[in-house]
Amino acid sequence: MGKIIYVDNNATTQVAPEVLESMLPFFKYLWGNPSSMHTFGGQVANYIDKAREQVAHFLGAQRSSEIIFTSCGTEGNNTAIRSALKAFGDKRHIVTTSVEHPAVLNLCKELAKEGYNVTFLPVDHEGHLNIDQFKESLREDTAIASIMWANNETGVVFPIEQIADICAEKNVPLHVDAVQAVGKLDINLSKTPITYLSISGHKLHAPKGIGALYVRRGTKFRPWLIGGHQEGGRRAGTENAAFIVGLGVACELAMKNRNTDVERMRALRDFLEEGILKSIPRSSVNGDRKMRLPNTTNISFEAIEGEAILLMLNEYGICASSGSACTSGSLEPSHVLIAMGVPFTRAHGSIRFSLSRYNTKEEMEYILEKLPQIVEHLRGLSPVS
């Protein structure tokens, strides 16, 4: 394979070299079980404690005991929502949005089948919630509201601070899927009254297979994985020490680099986006361009289909993703774009570029050189003009 231009960082990110380095000793020498009563194993617990502090510090949590390590973002989401439903057994109502990641959306659909009442809040053309409508949707019997911080497909950011205040005022626990927000937005849990917050390591230059769930101190909690006493009895299973350490380092790196990362990604993203809009007729951005992650752009090209664009980009080593039906494995285009009222034709021809701190201007220039000819070629094949 030739040179790869990776602009699919909302799908997953490269493991930072510093993160990899920090993990290796736990495969080579420090492979003991942190629960053991000998120093060889027990010393590993110190590294886990340190990682927990790094994650807590990064999220602005007041105590590291508020962090539970999980296997992925999906586990965090499932744990938080199921815990709230169990802990507040008499409350049978859930509030969420129609544009959540499948890890929340499909769970809520499943819960609806199990008999819970679920409100799926709509979004407007720009991908935003109506905050008054959100406020009205919270009821006496609402066990939990689960709202994503930033959308994985469009990058549109919800006003979580405002949402958290409303939930606190109405006494409804709030779960935030912050998988896409971490490292790109300022998160300070000591200032924002969020009850549960899930993050995933591999969107943050840590490896796949590690995540964390923040649970505010004092929140009634019911574990999902039952077994040993690990994670303070809140998540059974032997700790994935190497990956936990990696996540800690990734959080520290993200904190150290956040300002430069964000500015860098935003400048490159804007350069790419403006270049595309200027050079390709009948292309348009999906979602609000202001309240948006600095690294994401979702652009539709009329009269052509996303998978075809992706596979042609792939020929040049350019890795992106699409909201078209053909790439999702289902037959319908992205539920996010459809919820925003993006017409089917534009949804089928949507491409998402998502950047990381490792992208360069040369890469954006290369995309801008190749993409217009790809779009023109495919439009030449299309029966609609």
Binding site: I304, E305, E307, A308, S324, L331, S382, P383, V384
Partner: protein, 281 residues
Amino acid sequence: MWKYSEKVIDHFLHPRNVGEIENPDGIGEVGSLACGDMLRLTFKLDENGRIADAKFKTFGCASAIASSSALTEMIKGMTLEEAEKITNRDIANYLGGLPEEKMHCSVMGREALETAIKNYRGISGPKRELEGKVVCKCFGVTENDIRRVAIENDLETLEQITAYTKAGGGCGLCHQEIERILDELKAEKKHQEKEVSYKKPSFTNIELMHMVEDLINNRIKYALQQDGGDIELVDIDRNIVFIRLKGACASCPSSFTTMKRFIEKELKKEISPDIQVEEVK
């Protein structure tokens, strides 16, 4: 990521016969932008009634473009009677197979061809019309469509029907209806199998010879020629069919596999499970 064959990728990256024929003899248009794929096929006949030229324009994914491109290559030189016999499986086979979830692209190709032929014969407009009861309202798929694709591809599950026809891939309200059709088909098949087993052996020697000859000289020969190969029917002795592989096939190291996997399988499937193929060098 989909596992596409090299041939699919080739036809996607280098599509053959793109465009629209001016004053075509037949036009066939299927699908829509909303559904995510759309194909417009045009063809022209020569003085002998064979397809002299065929062109396509397609909106859709890689496999939709590749299926359209393959279709135009396959039908060139055929009479309409020959072209009519092309099934979606023939299109998929020509491409070295398609992922099951993408089989609907091959069905779209067959439907466009069918519509274009009907259009030539004056029994249809250029746009494909739905015939019979619509089962899937999201994607506009009728009971006839489902039955035909299920029979031609030997489908048994709802997921397969969705993969091949898109029916049931939207709101999901028609799932029960599709399962009812599948149950009916299963019952019909059982019934037919019973009848067939009573009748066996069902063909006279002459009938069998004609059928084998027909299949080899049309479909099998054609498929092999696409890869630069060829086949000659040498003799038929009861259930043993003697053939000679020619062209690229003769020297191909996988000719034995071709013979057993493809030729014998086709003959067994189409004519009789008792048939065996022997190569004559």
